[in-house]
Subunit: 214 residues, 2 copies
DNA sequence: TCATAAATGTGTACAGTGTACACAATATTA
DNA sequence: TAATATTGTGTACACTGTACACATTTATGA
């Protein structure tokens, strides 16, 4: 058997083989360039070399496809966080390491927004399903969602004595809020088009605020 | 002369009279119910009782209309902030008053997001023009944009000695980031559908973090 | 005052969209 | 092997944004 799964080329088999994956990938690539609104069902099927209605065998409607693509974008966000976490060389100092861990999570978030604005917008677009923060469809290679990665970092911070126990509850939301808001400002807002170095500096100052305020 | 400006009724005059305003208002009302994507040009003109193409005499294209509607939404946000500011009864204590002022700004922001999620999404949608934070089209009755209102509050905080001078620069962005992110979480994210009282409590805790961290 | 020009509306047309419905080809199962 | 489920195709429809030609009203300048 050939085992070849055709992507965008014309296929000679009636069945596609892995259409779900192919459609999803095409949707993500479109969003990478143009955000949520760049995902248009007919274009996705066109790239898969398939009739428009074939998509309906795998997704209930366009909104479903958007949700799936959004999950994938969140997964990519998770890998950005993991990448930043991997840079840390443990110092042995529990406090310092916990701080570095939280900073890495925030920095990964901001880098993702900067490097992949289209995916970032998709991940947090109106129709995205953010309600379930533990869906395996949006985990990185470590098996955790962005939210879970943040939770782990906050646990470490608390254990290191840098986050009062009575403030641990719901701390995810506060930390997340801050970096998310800044990311929006840097992508679409008044901070758009900043030099990379300046954007980085502002990002680090924001994380300073979170560290002090949490 | 009658002086009547027809809104959605059939008009017997060839000219409409105030079509720009009517189209803009209709767009805002659509977004109030369904967010940015609910603004559809043909529906807007339908409500104005006018042919679709008439819109092109007043807006270059749909994107232009979206931008204008977004400005209007930002203006409504400003009035929410002003409403909250008006609730403050000055205590005479400079420090306390400055703090209350900043809290009012943040609280107004969060209340707006909660009360008008459609407008909130419109105001900060991809095609919104947030680059100019001083456009008079997005001011409240006080003549200031949301961003400017926040700036004033931060100035007061600094003058009251509650914000180190070396941290005053760009402080708008940090404060704004935090409340904006939380608003998103409460509208579309995992904090969606929270009881009003709980949402309020979380909001106040977030503002606590900002106060400590700024 | 009156021809002319500018502004603002309408009508028709077109390419593109999401998706419903009937049908065709291939896999799976009894 | 016959019946059935799965997955892809073809046609059709209502709807969208907008280009282009034209009609009607208002403003302008001799």
């Amino acid at each position: 058997m050939t085992g070849e799964i055709p992507k965008t080329l014309k296929r000679e088999t009636y069945r596609h083989g892995d259409l779900y994956r192919t459609l999803l990938d095409a949707a993500v690539e479109l969003a990478r360039k143009g955000g949520k609104d760049a995902i248009v069902l007919r274009e996705v099927t066109r790239q898969a070399g398939v009739a428009p209605n074939a998509a309906y065998r795998h997704f209930a409607d366009l909104k479903s496809l958007l949700r799936a693509a959004s999950m994938a974008a969140q997964a990519e966000l998770a890998t950005y966080m993991e990448k930043e976490l991997a840079k840390i060389t443990p110092s042995g100092d529990k406090v310092e390491d916990a701080r570095a861990q939280l900073r890495a999570v925030g920095t990964g978030y901001l880098h993702f927004a900067q490097a992949e604005p289209g995916l970032f917008r998709l991940a947090f677009s109106e129709h995205a399903d953010l309600s379930n923060a533990t869906d395996p469809a949006s985990t990185g290679s470590g098996g955790l969602t962005p939210f879970q990665i943040l939770s782990v970092a906050l646990d470490a911070l608390m254990e290191a004595g840098q986050l009062p126990k009575e403030r641990r509850e719901a701390a995810e939301f506060f930390a997340w809020s801050a970096v998310h808001g800044l990311a929006m400002l840097q992508i679409d807002g008044p901070l758009r088009g900043l030099e990379a170095a300046q954007a980085e500096a502002i990002g680090q100052r924001l994380i300073d605020m979170v560290e002090r305020g949490l």
